[in-house]
């Protein structure tokens, strides 16, 4: 069933299990005590950053199956993506499994998009069980999108820090657990921000657009949710998204939480918080889902945001188009 841009899941697919692997910097934050595996070594015993990222993603997927007590033959499909060119981490992680693989890319909102697609497949009855996973690594993202690590350049105050980590969850048709009620497919929004360091400001309009669309389609108010979780807007972007939705008549300030803002201890004059596909993946698949299982949150809206740029487009002076997909979960 579809209304507006929102899909309602009649058969209520459930989150069967979830897992998160986080890096050493993330370990010190709030996520450290909730993640399944917190690494001390960001290389994860591998020789390159890309291999480390791939291994983290593999670990998250395997942990997911293990925690759900399932093996590869019980899972029907793997949906995954990451930030690197040609989503190599996800594809290379899928190489290790005897599973059909669907590659997904929507930058940092890959987590919510893959959950949405997995839920659609499960709800329709095409598959019984699907895994949605994603991850990112600070060093590999930095090298691809910015400068070599050792280059001594300054970090402007509006910049964010790519999260090292990976997370995934297994979605299945069953009777207990956190259920996925509906999902809103996002539109690409571009308000003309060209500053690649200011992702929060670029992505905030997309987040506001999707959140408001969802509230309209479902006929709900922000106060109906225990939490409206955005992906990696950072401190600056969070402020903007609150302002933008307030302008449209929805006051989300009381329930809004941003993964990027809570993943590190943010000192705003230093930088804005976390970003990257792994940011929403580790926060959602550890902290948020654990609290939901414990009954602390009953109903949340998870709207991760992604900036759909490449180094080529920003080099050619293009602005940054952004997207956000939202998934509504209920206990």
């Amino acid at each position: 069933m579809k209304k507006g841009n929102t899909v309602f899941f009649k058969n209520k697919p459930r989150v069967e299990s979830f897992a998160a692997v986080c890096g050493s910097k993330e370990k010190e934050g709030i996520i450290g005590q909730y993640a399944d595996i917190a690494l001390d070594d960001d290389m994860y015993g591998e020789s390159t950053f890309e291999k480390a990222e791939c291994k983290m993603l593999t670990t998250a997927i395997s942990q997911c199956m293990e925690k759900g007590g399932k093996s590869e033959k019980d899972v029907d499909v793997l949906l995954s993506g990451d930030l690197l060119n040609q989503i190599i981490s996800a594809s290379f992680a899928a190489r290790d499994y005897d599973l059909p693989f669907l590659g997904v890319y929507s930058a940092c909102s890959t987590m919510s998009e893959s959950i949405m697609l997995a839920a659609m497949l499960v709800n329709a009855g095409y598959v019984k069980r699907a895994i949605a996973a994603t991850g990112s690594h600070f060093a590999s993202a930095e090298r691809q999108y910015r400068y070599p690590l050792e280059l001594g350049c300054t970090r402007p105050p509006q910049s964010q820090w790519t999260v090292t980590g990976a997370g995934g969850c297994m979605i299945a048709a069953k009777d207990e657990g956190v259920k996925i009620v509906s999902a809103t497919m996002g539109k690409v929004c571009d308000y003309g921000v060209t500053d690649v360091n200011n992702m929060g400001a670029a992505m905030a309009p997309a987040a506001a657009d999707t959140i408001i669309q969802h509230l309209k389609d479902t006929g709900t108010q922000p106060s109906d949710y225990d939490m409206i979780l955005t992906g990696d807007l950072g401190a600056l972007g969070s402020r903007i998204v609150k302002d933008l939705s307030w302008e449209k008549g929805y006051d989300i300030s009381k329930v809004h939480v941003d993964c990027g803002e809570i993943v590190y201890k943010v000192i705003e004059s230093e930088f804005q918080g976390g970003s990257g596909a792994g940011c929403s993946a580790i926060v959602f698949n550890s902290y948020v889902l654990k609290k939901m299982q414990a009954g602390l949150y009953k109903r949340i809206l998870f709207a991760a945001t992604g900036a759909l740029l490449s180094t080529v487009s920003s080099g050619q002076g293009e602005s940054i188009p952004c997207i956000s997909h939202a998934v509504e979960l209920e206990l």
Binding site: S24, F49, H137, P148, L149, E150, G152, C153, T154, P156
Partner: protein
Amino acid sequence: MGQEILMIALAYLKAFAVGGSICLIAQIIINFTDLTAGKILVYFMLAGVALTAIGVYQPLVDFAGAGATVPISGFGYLLANGAMKGAEKGFFYAVTGSLSAASAGVTAAVVFAFIMSLIFKSRTKRN
């Protein structure tokens, strides 16, 4: 003896003041525009070339020593100086003079960068 120490101290002071000021100008430009490190390096190098060509940079080098030669504008000074000296010798040297003057810097950068890449590998950062 006392005179000599004073001269040396003055040389350091001049190097510090002039070198620091060049960096200060660059920092002010970075603060007020969104120029990246690579662009700043190019613009300062070009400024060094231009100032040398019109004869402003040479007095600064004579005054401040390392304070004017160590910043990247000093690299531009080397290039322009080499070209100007070469121009006196003939057409061929006018064209090749700049890079031959700067060859020490470029060679050193390539060789040492190669050696470092043999020894070290890049590490991920935490802050």
